[in-house]
């Protein structure tokens, strides 16, 4: 329809009102171009494109876009999902911003992100660089590094929960005992709970990053190493002056992706500690979950979606920043 209007407009001008006796009116001259265009569009593969696209469009509309729009609407409402919702303006946002737990959740999330950055970010790089130096059985080491990623996340967390047994007979505490370190409380203390979560998260995610870094390392031109060697560079110099600068782009992308992922940390605190002990591991996403579900007999779905919307805005800004910066890199 839109195609036809476009083509009719310059030749016909304003449409003339038609008398009721339609059949007497001669066909408008633009009819032929319209059918030809439609035919051209079909012949050009337009129909099959649309047909192939339709399932994806339907699935995205039903399962992604529509819930996103509904969440934004719900953040301005109060609802128990059963009765008609009432509009409450920005009340939900005000409520969330006044919740004393929000500050704790933000700080905890930042703490998680910081620890994940300190331990989780450099580790895969180091391992990838070391692995790229290995001459034999490279595939075996890659498989070994990637193995934790294959373990389903919930299974991994439950497994680590056993490892983190805080009694002196717990697995990790037994190992620490061999080297004379006293048993640690792991998940059972506010001070050590978050680092324990990060340790497991790093273990679980490092494999994927290692594979990406290994692939990136392959793209470093060997001539650069040869030239550095001719100039008398040591291994350390080669890594510092050749490898790392060459990986700069991928390092930055991985950094931004990690920041975005850690801002949404949920699985570990939810399964390991439920946010405890004493709210030491309540993260933003866990707080959203609590608003919506913990005491959901009247469910604060409005507040949950309000906080989700705020988080989404912050993450959108981060993503925008990521696109801007990577754009510059890809053009340079």
């Amino acid at each position: 329809m839109t195609l036809s209007t476009k083509h009719q407009a310059p030749t016909e001008g304003d449409p003339v009102p038609r008398p009721a006796s339609g059949p007497m009116v001669p066909a408008p001259p633009a009819r032929r171009p319209r059918t030809r265009n439609l035919r051209t569009w079909v012949r050009g593969g337009g129909l099959s494109t649309l047909v192939f696209l339709a399932p994806m469009l339907i699935v995205f509309t039903v399962f992604s876009w529509s819930p996103i729009v509904q969440s934004v609407i719900m953040s301005l409402q109060e609802t128990n999902l059963l009765d008609a919702p009432t509009w409450v303006g920005l009340d939900n946002f005000v409520h969330v911003l006044n919740d004393p737990l929000l500050g704790t959740a933000i700080l905890n999330t930042l703490y998680f992100a910081l620890l994940a950055l300190l331990f989780g970010f450099p580790l895969p790089i180091v391992v990838a660089v070391l692995m790229s130096e290995v001459r034999r059985a490279k595939g075996f080491y890659s498989a070994l590094a990637y193995l934790p990623v294959v373990v389903p996340p919930v299974v991994a967390v439950l497994l680590w929960k056993v490892f983190y047994d805080a009694s002196p007979t717990g697995l990790f505490n037994t190992i620490l005992g061999w080297v004379g370190i006293p048993p640690q409380p792991w998940l059972q203390s506010s001070a050590t709970a978050m680092p324990s979560l990060v340790l497991e998260a790093t273990w679980a995610a490092a494999g994927g990053s290692i594979i990406i870094y290994l692939a990136a390392l392959l793209s470093v031109p060997p001539e650069l190493y040869d030239a550095a060697e001719v100039d008398g560079a040591s291994i350390w110099n080669k890594i510092w002056h050749v490898t790392l600068p060459q990986l700069r782009g991928i390092l930055f992308i991985m950094l931004i992706l990690q920041v975005i992922a850690t801002a949404q940390v949920f699985l570990e605190p939810f399964l390991f500690t439920g946010g405890g002990p004493n709210n030491a591991t309540v993260t933003i996403l866990l707080l959203i979950y609590r608003y919506a579900f913990q005491n959901s007999l009247g469910g604060d779905y409005g507040e949950a979606t309000a906080l989700s919307v705020m988080l989404a805005i912050v993450l959108a800004l981060l993503s925008w920043l990521y696109f801007k910066l990577t754009e510059r890199w890809s053009t340079s």
């Binding site: 399932p55 339907i58 047994d165 439920g274 002990p277 913990q294 469910g299």
Partner: protein
């Protein structure tokens, strides 16, 4: 690119997709003209024998009511998913909810009015009035109280023996519990006592421990408002008790992030000497957590300073979204499945016989939802089928009638339990936790919730 074949394949793909989506939304209708009734069965994870027993009961019911088609649905009461399941239509037509949540559900219009049906069945007057109160709004009734429990102290007889304690005379005061816990911990290396702390159960248990010491965490002002009284001596004493076991005696084990399910799991695995939970938990311990019955012992929770034992229970309710025919079928099912075995000898015997044949627990100690006489009489009907070790539960079954039952707090119950979870966790994970300050802070937060 645009050959007829390509277009045909694309068309087929689209039809397949649409067909698949249509298939998703199909179903629900019953060609036989029977009323389909989706009823709650067990929490996910129950053993196969439980399902066999249910299938048998389903057949018995359908034989007696040929126009009703029962469909069992796995179900576990969970606050988090309830409202979503209700809105999404995936909740069974008949399900059970705890007393604590019935008031909120009532206020939210999430329960079906069954006053006429209860009256028609003729046992509206037979319910224990305190218990019926949990499902009433004015004079309207919104559910069938089907099971009630009092808090009990569950203990592991084998660990008692290993620690040199007599499993036939369990502790009767909080001091004795502390001593026994210390002994068990020292002699066996297992946790002498353990406490739930997560998913609102920490608050639930703290309120129970406070009630047992004569405390109450809120006052009902009678006009729909409540005053928080969390910062009281009994609650403080309950927290100090936990603090001493944890930090002075080191008899609480090493896991302070437990809830109802995980503490049951630990107990069934033989890692806990004693813990406090509902007296009806034995059924789940055996059915869902594979407890060895020989290990099990049950006694009353000690009460002092005029305190009582916190009670609770659940009610069978009908989803508020069902039509009249389904509602009628639902009431017929509730009456047959939950109520008649409490009232009628034949029904009680049939139920007990069916369950015993599949090895399900019969005779777990409960509190009567009707009157005590009817309850005790019903026990005599099913005596030949009782398979739970009631002789290991006599300290409870003898002692419970001397204790005053106390109802759970009514205002914002679960929200306040969640607040108190944090307090219990703080005491158990921070040696220098300031109990007074924690209680004061929780009191302020609770009052803010109650004033909302």
């Amino acid at each position: 690119m645009k050959s007829p074949r390509t277009v045909a394949i694309a068309g087929l793909a689209a039809f397949a997709m649409v067909g698949a989506l249509a298939a998703c939304s199909a179903g629900g209708g019953d060609d036989s003209g029977k009323t389909e009734l989706r009823v709650a069965t067990f929490p996910p994870g129950a053993d196969a024998a439980a399902y066999d027993a249910f299938a048998e009961q389903e057949a018995q019911f359908e034989k007696a009511n040929p126009d009703i088609d029962i469909i069992g649905v796995e179900y576990e009461w969970e606050g988090p998913t309830f409202a979503v399941q209700l809105a999404g239509g995936s909740l069974p037509d008949v399900f059970t909810v705890p007393f604590t949540d019935s008031k909120t559900l009532l206020e939210n219009g999430q329960l079906m009015d069954v006053t006429d049906e209860v009256e028609e069945l003729g046992y509206a007057d037979k319910f224990n009035p305190i218990i019926l109160d949990a499902v009433k709004d004015g004079d309207r009734i919104y559910g069938f109280p089907r099971q009630a429990y009092a808090m009990g102290l569950h203990y592991n007889r084998t660990l008692f023996e290993q620690a040199g304690l007599d499993p036939d005379s369990p502790p009767t005061t909080w001091d004795e519990i502390r001593k026994a816990a210390k002994t068990i911990s020292e002699k066996t290396g297992k946790a002498g006592f353990m406490e739930m702390t997560q998913n609102n159960t920490g608050g639930w248990q703290l309120v129970a421990a406070s009630a047992a010491r004569g405390g109450s965490i809120q006052e009902d002002n009678g006009d729909g408002t409540y005053t928080s009284t969390i910062a009281n001596d009994a609650t403080k004493a309950a927290l100090e008790f936990l603090h001493d076991l944890r930090w002075e005696d080191n008899s609480l084990g090493s896991n302070f992030l437990l809830d109802w399910g995980t503490i049951n799991q630990e107990f069934a695995a033989g890692n806990i000497g004693m813990y406090s939970s509902g007296s009806d938990v034995y059924t789940a311990l055996v059915r869902d957590f594979s407890l060895n019955p020989d290990d099990y012992g049950l006694t009353v929770v000690p009460v002092e300073n005029g305190g009582g034992t916190l009670g609770g229970g659940d009610i069978a309710v009908v989803s508020p979204t069902v039509d009249d025919a389904t509602k009628a079928a639902a009431v017929t099912w509730i009456d047959w499945f939950y109520m008649q075995k409490l009232l009628d000898e034949d029904a009680a015997v049939l139920d007990a016989k069916t369950l015993t044949e599949s090895g399900q627990a019969i005779g777990t100690p409960l509190l009567p939802v009707l009157d005590r006489e009817t309850y005790e009489e019903s026990l005599t009907w099913i005596e030949p089928y009782i398979n739970v070790p009631r002789d290991q539960m006599t300290p409870f079954t003898d002692g419970i009638w001397e204790q005053t039952p106390v109802g759970e707090p009514k205002g914002k119950t679960q929200e306040i339990y969640a607040l108190l979870d944090t307090v219990v966790q703080a005491v158990l994970t921070d040696q220098n936790a300031d109990i007074d300050a924690l209680l004061e802070a929780a009191d302020v937060d609770a009052q803010a919730l109650l004033d909302e």
